[in-house]
């Protein structure tokens, strides 16, 4: 566990002197190899081959439970010809890893692994040349297998470690280094098991939440009772009975620190403070009006093909509908946490941020710390699915550590996490479409309303309360993708109305924007199919030409035993239930993964309760790097989004979030977990895409479409709480 906090030098310390007779292979330096700001990286910034034959990969992309670290190991092992078991990964340490991007947007495979692959391919060429000189044979006649360079024809080899172990390559990554052909892969594409799972299953993995440093105090924050409240006074005597508590007040930032964690928890809970009244946001039950009526920037025309407006106004029977996706929380299992050690000589932050370099840059700016005196080290946290409260917790810990002059660990409480994490945005979509007499889509228009604000780094809660100057960015990811139908249509227009303000801070949350857009597009496509009296799968197939799109639809429908017929189900009744099936298809960002999802649901007639019986999913992300890890991600995407679809909605009044525990912010539980069957379609000849988000996007529409098939009731508002279904059923 100590390695994590030590320098890269310590990671590489088994570099005892070897006689070096060639230019490359000078000793590994005693300084940091971290690089940033340039796309031309040294091989050494990604890879270190040690004398004992083990290999360390250094990367700014982090594994937040997705298994991406295993993919990195496979990628490097494959290109280097060194067995995968010898690889370990150092993630997200600003002092030792190259800055080649943060984790997000499903970029771990297409960017993270691709960078590591090129570094490893460059390293392989270097190893072949080193061996060529040593063995007096042309490099072209040599091969690396099992960690040894040996003649292709057979014969004795030299271990890679004997060629370069403990020394540096001193080479730039060659973007043109020859890459192994996927047809020869022996490690990539195999279900290599994750190294972290046995540790997690035995309670031995050191999470950020378990991290301690000498002299560390436990900190807790005391958030105001409303977002904009100012701290008027603090009654320190209210916690006098609790041992060794220090109270930190910086303007309206209030926190406590104590040697004993329980003392910090109790002090934060019992500390009496007086705050100003504040009401400044619309309540969560009135957001549709807020979105339509608030000031927005100029219309953002995302897609404009043909003349959708004219085609719709002249259409005989245009259809329209409004879809709604609520604010949702990351609702991480672990409340956000950080350990900060602020010293004049340098500050260290341990965090489970998905973007160590981004956090360092923002903290450096807000706290006026020179970049080189601030180090952020990633440690495993709980699943974050985007940018949760990790960055805010880091700022809290830093504020407290500076104030008390000791390292401080801050862990938020559950109400801090659900009340204050930046949220996945609310989204309102009006869709209109017209078909010709044969049910072909002629015109389609999507208009969306999105909360917004300035670009740039998100404001950190603690510094905001402390009156520190900072930006107030409200980025939430690529919100407008997948808002146009993937189906052939001559006239298509997508317009985004980006509001100038937002009630809650915004953040990326798994498949940002795409999740609401696909809900609207695929829900409304189902409405068109039903209006045309056509089978929902056939309606989609007819308007698609890409064979990979057709393949996933065919696979998902075959798996669920899809019988072609129009919706609703003519024979839905099964006892107290009505049953139905639905389908949704999308290609992620219209450019990446193809996913089709079919679902079978039962809706209890009296209560409106939706039971999801089965989900089948066909998933094509190009070349598959690790089928077991991929399957785990696809299953997770589906189950997580089922939770978001059925249950999740952040509730707030005019001053604060009110859904702050697991009963007011309910999530999916085991008794509701359906059977999920996943078919992975491998295309070794195609580039690999990431799979951390794509399969989540079609889930809500597949559910809504299945509920329509079962009941004739169309759900256009997430979450599909029983109250909504029951009310609509009663009206139907």
């Amino acid at each position: 566990m100590d390695d994590v906090g030590l320098s890269r030098r310590a990671v590489l310390r088994n570099g005892a002197a070897l006689v070096v007779s060639f230019a490359i292979g000078s000793m590994l330096p005693k300084r940091s190899l971290a690089q940033s700001g340039s796309r031309t990286f040294d091989v050494d910034s990604f890879l270190a081959i040690h004398e004992d034959g083990s290999v360390t990969i250094f990367t700014s992309h982090v594994d937040v439970g997705t298994g991406i670290a295993t993919v990195f190991r496979q990628t490097a092992a494959e290109e280097l010809g060194i067995p995968v078991e010898r690889f370990t990964v150092v993630e997200g340490d600003t002092a030792t890893t190259p800055d080649h991007g943060g984790t997000g947007g499903s970029t771990g495979v297409p960017r993270g692994a691709a960078d590591i692959r090129r570094a490893a391919a460059t390293a392989r060429q270097a190893l072949l040349e080193l061996a060529s000189a040593r063995m007096n044979q042309p490099a072209a006649d040599l091969v690396i297998e099992g960690g040894e360079v040996r003649p292709k024809e057979g014969g004795a080899g030299i271990p890679a470690a004997a060629l370069i172990g403990g020394k540096r390559f001193s080479l730039k990554v060659d973007p043109n280094a020859p890459l192994k052909s996927p047809s020869t892969y022996t490690t990539v594409g195999k279900p290599i098991l994750r190294a972290d799972v046995p540790l997690k299953c035995s309670g031995r993995l050191i999470f950020l939440q378990d991290w301690t440093v000498p002299q560390m105090l436990h900190g807790r924050v005391v958030r105001p009772p409303s977002f904009g409240a100012k701290l008027r006074s603090v009654d320190e005597s209210s916690v006098r009975a609790i041992p060794e508590v220090r109270i930190v007040r910086i303007e309206s930032f209030l926190g406590v620190a104590a040697k004993d964690e329980w003392a910090a928890v109790r002090a934060a809970r019992e500390l009496k403070a007086s705050w100003s009244e504040w009401q400044g946001i619309p309540a969560s039950d009135d957001l549709e009006r807020y979105l339509r009526e608030s000031a927005a920037g100029p219309d953002q025309v995302v897609v404009n093909r043909g003349d959708a407006v004219a085609a719709l106004s002249s259409a005989a029977k245009p259809m329209s509908a409004t879809y709604y996706w609520p604010f949702q929380s990351h609702a991480s299992m672990a409340p956000s946490c950080a350990v900060a050690d602020a010293r004049d000589s340098g500050t260290t932050i341990w965090s489970s941020t998905q973007n160590s370099f981004g956090l360092r840059a923002n903290l450096a700016k807000v706290f006026a710390i020179p970049l080189e005196k601030l180090r952020v080290i990633f440690l495993d946290g709980s699943g974050s699915y985007g940018s949760n409260g990790a960055e805010d917790a880091a700022a809290d810990a830093l504020l407290l550590s500076r104030a008390v002059g000791q390292p401080v660990r801050v862990q938020w409480m559950r109400h801090d996490e659900l009340g204050w994490d930046p949220k996945g945005p609310v989204q309102l979509l009006d869709v209109r479409a017209a078909m010709d007499a044969s049910g072909n889509i002629q015109a389609w228009e999507t208009q969306m309303w999105l909360p917004g604000g300035p670009t740039g780094a998100r404001a950190l809660i603690g510094p905001e309360s402390a009156g520190m100057k900072q930006g107030h960015g409200q980025g939430a990811g690529l919100m407008t993708a997948n808002a146009d139908p993937p189906y052939s249509a001559p006239h298509v227009r997508v317009v985004a109305h980006n509001l100038k303000d937002t009630p809650l801070r915004l953040s990326n949350l798994r498949a940002p924007g795409k999740i609401a857009n696909v809900f609207a597009v695929e829900g409304f496509t189902d409405e068109l199919a039903a209006a045309a009296g056509m089978d929902a799968a056939a309606f989609r197939r007819r308007a698609l030409t890409d064979p990979r799109a057709l393949a996933v639809i065919d696979r998902a429908t075959a798996m669920i035993g899809w019988q072609p017929r129009p919706s609703p189900n003519p024979n839905p009744n099964q006892g107290a239930y009505r049953v139905g099936r639905g389908i949704a298809y999308m290609r992620y960002k219209q450019a990446e993964n193809y996913v089709a999802l079919a679902a079978e649901v039962a809706v209890e007639r009296v209560t409106g309760k939706i039971t999801v019986r089965r989900i089948t999913c066909a998933h094509d992300c190009g070349l598959i790097m690790n089928p077991d890890g991929l399957r785990n991600q696809v299953e997770g995407n589906i189950m997580h989004t089922l939770s978001r679809t059925l249950h999740e909605q952040v509730r707030f009044d005019h001053s604060k979030v009110t859904s702050v525990d697991w009963s007011s912010y309910p999530v999916l539980r085991f008794p509701e977990a359906p059977t999920i069957e996943v078919a992975l379609i491998d295309h070794p000849d195609q580039p690999p895409y990431g799979a951390g988000e794509a399969a989540s996007a079609p889930v809500a529409a597949a559910m809504a479409n299945a509920v329509f098939d079962a009941t004739g009731v169309r759900l256009r508002r997430v979450p599909f709480a029983v109250e909504q279904t029951r009310t609509l059923l009663a009206r139907a």
Binding site: P198, S202, G203, A334
Partner: protein, 153 residues
């Protein structure tokens, strides 16, 4: 400071607590260095902190230290290690039944309590037994498969 005699993972230990209402979770994690049980909510709502007390799955985040003197406490560290996992841990590893792994402690401990009581539960019984344990990564399918693997062994 008041002392409490505990039996944790088969060993007798004495711990101090300035507050008799201090939840067992903090004692396990901070006094005994047993980091397997996790803080998830402090409200007994999520199950991440689950331990066994006298064989029953209990939420250590809402169990005061004064209630557990001399009772047999088992944490996930007491079941097995990464190298020598017990049957349930081994099944979780075989099924790769974890993503972030923060809820895994609670899943394994709840499954252990179930299987100790009822060695061959049905899928429905497993779902109900784990009904109070939350997972956010959506690893439910694999967790169920892991417990079924032991139930059917």
């Amino acid at each position: 400071m008041p002392k409490y005699a505990l039996r944790v993972n088969g060993k007798r230990v004495n711990v101090d607590s300035w507050d008799p209402d201090q939840p067992l979770l903090y004692i396990l994690r901070n006094s005994l260095g047993l980091h397997g049980p996790k803080f998830g909510c402090g409200l007994g709502q999520c199950g991440a902190c689950t331990v066994l007390i006298d064989g029953k799955a209990v939420r250590s985040c809402v169990t005061p230290i004064h209630q557990v003197s001399n009772r047999a406490i088992t944490t996930i560290e007491g079941l097995g290690t990464a190298e020598q996992p017990n049957a349930i841990q081994a099944a979780f590893i075989s099924e790769q039944a974890a993503q972030c792994g923060y809820c895994t402690n609670g899943m394994i401990m709840a499954a252990q309590a179930l299987l100790d009581q009822s060695p061959h539960p049905t899928l429905e019984q497993i779902k109900n037994a784990l009904g109070g344990n939350l997972c956010r990564c959506g690893t439910h399918t694999r967790i169920l498969n892991a417990v079924l693997r032991v139930a059917r062994a």
